[in-house]
Symmetry: C2
Subunit: 332 residues, 2 copies
């Protein structure tokens, strides 16, 4: 398993499209599953994804789009899931029994399964009966939009199986990509989930007209909250200052590309959750993350002031103005 | 020493003006030393500082501007120094011997003394023969511009003398200000100095057209560099995730108000150091910080890849493009 020659990529969003671009430019043959037959025709005809990163030309000699999930999975030994966490259960339910046996599985989903309080990786492991040494995750810090622009981007590949992670990392070769290896997939995945909550919180603060001085304090306090949560959820030595954890947080909290931040901003300005979701067209992963992490924090018996405040704003419809006034007093 | 009634503030820049605003709105009587007699007349006549935050109306019934430093210092028992670190030596040299004896000293200077590789506080302590328990620092995370706009801002007061820090904190009372107490003035001061280097580095990266993905990795790696430096310089237990350290870094690295970031951006775009300084009118503290910290890092025998790269760019005129290409490979 030196580098991979073929891969199946399941997902049609912007990050899926960015990964299709990266793998295809690394000369990996790709079976690309897009749910809608229309999208498959469009990609075949135009060499671009009509819905996301739609200006990005993809090298079609490496890309085989299909809306037949069984055909897609049969194509290779390595299957990469990159769909919004909310759609992962329905996606898995369309996969015939048994065809995922003995596959290597990658996932690049930074979210919680709605209503289940488990991460995408945990869900995949449960549903596919996957062994942990046949699974790796691909993480940030990055925005798909900057991959499309070919701006320098670091991609983290994390697995308990270091050989597998190494093979994947070695298969990501465009000059604008640099890979980071990591052996703490649970920590990296949860840090990515939690950072979406911070991105959302920063957006709400911005929508409420707080400035940079406040945002710095909000992020500091949220970072401490993340650290305490991870220490309880999965205790092990990890340096949260590394790019895979901390960098990922920064790119979401401060970047104008962040969907979670954008969603939060609308909430802060007084949009209802429904109106904000309608207007965005995309799913803000942070919305489901808040519910899952909030429930987990209660199970673990840990105080998470920022997460709890965002939970009450989004799910109990408490005024963001009021919740942030209360948060102000708790910060240090 | 419950709260203070009177204070001497030495400095005419934007952060000095912000502190004059905060103390005066807390009903503290202020003797405000401005070096130029013209500025004193202007403040007296218009109630605004002509040079910095010039739209901010100051409550003049609490403010007594003067260009006589002896008169300013005689006014109160507490003297706050808030001048650029580069001007601190010349400012101190104008103070007659003996009149600072038995004063309480505050400083809010986030920089290194040019050519000396010591911080502003260390310089004050040496020159004034100051006892450490008569000294406190006022730190961020904050930009003066947002204080002027009265946006929610957290101010850190740090001293080895907790009673003194408490008295100062209790004297900062506007509703938009919240205070954080801290007893690690050296750590807070050096974190503030180091963050200016990161701000500068982020600016250079931006000027070189790197995006948010790269910036996140740059800040993560810089943060690890700061941590290792502080652990060697002054080992003690401290949580760098707290606002006083980490928040201060964030506000500089990511805010458009940051002078260091702005200065760095011009360097990244190909301005010479001199041209960038001329165009900015303000001193970017990071410029002196880089030299001081670089020299200290060599004394301490610690590798600081980001600081060293910025040093070579600013002082040895190595191409920023080249230095960042080399940094790219070192990051993780």
């Amino acid at each position: 398993l030196e580098t991979i020659q073929k891969i199946t990529i399941i997902g049609a969003g912007s990050w899926a499209t960015a990964l299709v671009k990266i793998f295809s430019e690394s000369n990996v043959q790709i079976s690309w599953y897009l749910r809608k037959a229309n999208d498959v025709s469009y990609v075949n005809e135009h060499g671009r994804n009509p819905g996301y990163l739609s200006h990005t030309m993809l090298p079609m000699s490496y890309i085989h789009p299909t809306s037949d999930i069984e055909e897609a999975i049969d194509f290779s030994d390595t299957v990469l899931f990159v769909v919004p966490s909310a759609y992962l259960p329905s996606t898995l339910s369309t996969i015939p029994d048994g065809i995922m046996d003995n596959k290597w599985v990658l996932s690049s989903i930074k979210g919680m399964i709605p209503g289940a309080s488990i991460s995408a990786s945990e869900f995949l492991n449960q549903k596919l009966g996957l062994k942990k040494d046949r699974h790796a995750i691909i993480a940030g810090p990055c925005h798909a939009e900057e991959v499309a622009m070919e701006r320098k981007t670091y991609v983290t590949v994390s697995s308990l199986n270091e050989e597998f992670a190494g093979a994947i990392a070695a298969s990501l070769r465009p000059s604008y990509i640099q890979t980071i290896l990591n052996n703490d997939p649970m920590g990296v995945e949860y840090a990515a989930i939690l950072k979406n909550i911070i991105g959302l919180a920063c957006g709400i603060a911005h929508g409420l007209n707080y400035g940079d001085n406040f945002q710095a304090v909000l992020v500091s306090n949220s970072f401490i909250e993340i650290r305490q949560f991870l220490e309880l959820l999965d205790p092990r030595a990890r340096d949260l200052s590394e790019s895979a954890y901390f960098g990922d947080l920064l790119v979401t909290a401060f970047s104008p590309f962040s969907r979670n931040r954008h969603f939060g901003q609308m909430i802060g300005r007084g949009y209802s959750v429904q109106a904000a979701q309608l207007q965005m067209r995309m799913v803000a992963e942070g919305y489901y993350a808040v519910e899952g992490i909030y429930n987990l924090s209660r199970k673990l018996g840990i105080e998470m002031p920022v997460t709890s405040a965002i939970y009450r704003i989004l799910y109990n419809f408490i005024s963001p103005f009021l919740e942030f006034r209360l948060l102000e007093k708790k910060f240090k």
